[in-house]
Symmetry: C2
Subunit: 142 residues, 2 copies
DNA sequence: AGAGTATTCGCAAACGGTTGCAATAACGCC
DNA sequence: GGCGTTATTGCAACCGTTTGCGAATACTCT
């Protein structure tokens, strides 16, 4: 069990949630992949390891870990993907509409924009799950 | 038939699409409402006027008008709403997570942010349908 | 105006995702 | 370790949205 996984399990128990084999499995699958993973792939791998696994459990588990801050949700195309929250600091994402690549974006780049909205409109943007779509340098170069 | 509606019909034909009673109806319903309208309400009103109206037709029509630039899509909560594109100039939206109000945001406020992403990462953000969620001044005041 | 043709429609089935519920199982306590 | 409580699961039904398809119809051309 990796360090990240340990921490996630502790976060669970601290909030009074129970550690079930299904939750551990989902955690290991997402943590074992590289970067973000789509719900369908999490489900496919989980069902391989434990054939009774239900898609509803996968959704509930991913949402729970997201709520606990253990996982971060990224919108890729029109589907949600999940990754272990970067312990080295939260970051936002730039998602390319062409290649579907997801690039990290430091919160620092959004601070100015946030300040403008607050000052001008008194509008406090929710940047917890901010993702901006567009075209990355590789796909945009003609 | 209002001026906006006329223009929308012309946009349709210029692209080789046909003007059907269903499309005209959806156009008039969305144009007749104040601000944005949810799909379910468009469908409800359309079915009142024309009982054979199908929900699939409503979706297809709204998507078509969006593609033509006639309508603008706004994410309110987890549902999409539609409004006639503001002819006085495109704008983005700030949507309040509490009261679900949608406030216009001039593109000018995003220009700086856009320039930063392009310069720093070569990432060209898609601001065509940019909507930022958060808490508005009314709901945020304690 | 009437015929031909490609588009659009209504319907039904399918999709991804969510929810209600009875059965199961994780945990706290003795 | 076994018992009781309560959270969690698997299942099935459901939701909003999309898609495939044959029938209907808007438009073009004569």
């Amino acid at each position: 069990m990796t360090h990240n996984t340990q921490q996630a399990v502790e976060a669970l128990r601290e909030q009074g949630y129970r550690l079930t084999p299904q939750r551990l499995l989902v955690l290991q699958i997402v943590g074992g992949g590289e970067g973000h993973m789509g719900v369908d792939e999490v489900f496919r791998r989980a069902k391989e390891a434990y054939p009774y696994m239900d898609i509803a459990t996968v959704y509930r588990t991913l949402h729970l870990f997201k709520r606990l801050g253990v996982m971060t949700e990224v919108a890729i195309g029109d589907r949600l993907h999940y990754e272990l929250t970067d312990p080295a600091g939260r970051h936002h994402h730039m998602v390319c509409q062409v290649c579907h690549g997801a690039y990290n974006l430091s919160p620092h780049y959004l601070e100015e924009f946030r300040a403008t909205l607050v000052n001008e409109f008194g509008f406090e943007p929710d940047l917890e799950h901010f993702t901006i779509t567009g075209v990355c340098s590789g796909c945009g170069a003609e």
